[in-house]
Subunit: 391 residues, 2 copies
Amino acid sequence: MKSQKKHTYNPYRSCFQTMSANGAAELLRYGKSKAGCISLAQGEGSLPTPAFICDEVHKSLSEGKTFYSFGAGLTELRQEIATYHAKTYGHHIPLNRIAVTSSGTNAVHLALMSILDEGDEVIAVTPIWKNLIGITELAGGRIIDVPMEQSDGKWHLDLEKFFAKVTPHTKAMMIVSPNNPTGWVMSGEDIKTVLEFARARDIWIIADEVYGRTMHDVSKAPSFLDYAEDDDLLYVVNSFSKTWAMTGWRLGWLIGPRDSEDKIRDVILYENMGPPTFTQHAGIVALRHGEDFLQTQKTLWKGNQELVIESLAAFDHISLVKSPAAFYAFFKIDGETDSFALARRLIDEVGVSLAPGGAFGKEFNNYLRLCFAASPEVLSEALHRLKPAFR
Amino acid sequence: MKSQKKHTYNPYRSCFQTMSANGAAELLRYGKSKAGCISLAQGEGSLPTPAFICDEVHKSLSEGKTFYSFGAGLTELRQEIATYHAKTYGHHIPLNRIAVTSSGTNAVHLALMSILDEGDEVIAVTPIWKNLIGITELAGGRIIDVPMEQSDGKWHLDLEKFFAKVTPHTKAMMIVSPNNPTGWVMSGEDIKTVLEFARARDIWIIADEVYGRTMHDVSKAPSFLDYAEDDDLLYVVNSFSKTWAMTGWRLGWLIGPRDSEDKIRDVILYENMGPPTFTQHAGIVALRHGEDFLQTQKTLWKGNQELVIESLAAFDHISLVKSPAAFYAFFKIDGETDSFALARRLIDEVGVSLAPGGAFGKEFNNYLRLCFAASPEVLSEALHRLKPAFR
């Protein structure tokens, strides 16, 4: 009787039946399970968090800062985020528009949980990190994708094609710039155009700017906040992860329009009540004293990008756009049709784990993503191992 | 043109329009904003996290454990949770049923996000912590409440009334035992009855057991896991917060049925990717070496409960059930009709912040909740201040 019921009744949410599979996460675990395999599949570097940030945790714990924080984050941290935006970008953001979040991922999730009703459409530029699709589906939304194109040694987003995807069900547009995995950066001119388009139609913009400080030759990428008005339907997502090597900390922030404050505060209150109190204190020193460390990372990334470009240039069937930002090589392999199978083969045969392009959109199944934020030694070894596989 | 749109169009999720207000959170902030006000309104004690747990964070950070963890939590921590359950309860839980979560709150949220579709009903025993209502509403569910009754110096839950609330829309039953705010503990016999009832009808049970180790006279409360089968539709929620004074850490765990693993892993992946790596390492030592500290807290709580009972006994119009667990006095004030106004008056007039009973259910608007996990000195001062207000 009982086992019969188990077969006929699905006790879980209906969204799990339609949620797209995350083959890349599966491959990532597979690569990590293989002894000696070099993983360049995940979006993090090889440098641990710098000591001056870790020390602040130690100090906070010694001072007994182990009690509940406040839903939208410690006021001191929100103040420091405002100061950081003023100093870095010239933005002047009032504290009630700023919420501290449990990572950049969590910031996107909170933003979507505050706006999406079942069946709402979100237009997303692809290639895109698979989890952003999953976040949308989990919040009840449907992703409508608009692929970028690679030509003339550049990535292009055709705004006409992007805007043509709007329907009466469109609730939001999701833009990751600088982009993971391509390193493409949306120009200020395009940002303005998108803002005006969305403003005229009451469509939300989710701007994921976690790679905003990873520009190789300049200090920062253009931000939607450079051009937005205070009450634009705009959420800007940021994170400590990439800028200050804090991936394992799960710390980020979200800037919303003026009247989003109470919604975001409630969503945080009813989901997790925010990040730990003492990691928030460490976030303050990262923002305040993190520029030198960021520069160290950028120097490393720039050198590593050269290593990758030089190595892949040896293969006629591989093409790579030299990106101005982030720490990924997203390269096309002519003739390839199944990036998942290829990625698995590379783990098995040469001991290098890369992310399959197909995980970033079905049009990119002839691509692989290599994260070059490793140490030059590890990266060189990985490139050396890959050579016979690409021959 | 633009400002006109702002008035006619609501760009947020429809659930915010029906979500019940959280007056207690508002009062909590009000109390904290008043200099010199003693807050006994929140569910946390005055002891900071013990040093042996904090030290492990320092050690982990020194060792560079600042990189991404794994969605469902570090394997070492999940193993330690399994060991803790075996040692404390005699439960034998396989690792794939255990997920590390970003607090107990987050565990309830993740559990509901994995099962609730829009409009599903969740039957909840009240009085109940307001946030559990909010968590349900945010996940698209509707709370159907079943109030407990206070008589003969005890709290009673009438299971007949509880079961009578089931409709074809019932997706889950939520039970917090030991209970916040009453300290009521569900008996093993009742747990068995509820499990059998739910099993026969494919209804989920969300068992919030975060106060499971706060029993004043015995080591632990009965757990749903004492009686459940591996594939029962049962989520058991736990947390490090109360047991080891780790409220500010946002660390908990969730145990689900065998086939919940991939759903919970996806929900975590698409919400926050789990708690920080180094706090998870600290969780291991809390589970492994935390019994002495728990005993210290329990001795403090027991003494404090006596102080409160003695003090409130002086008032004929106040009645309090002496609870066997948790660290709350949830007392009735005859003739009172607006616990929110009363709580605000106590902040303003005598400088003590308590939680209004009405926040735990409309039937309890003549109650207040006092958290007695403070130091005896602070608690005595608060009780002293309250005397004239209750006269």
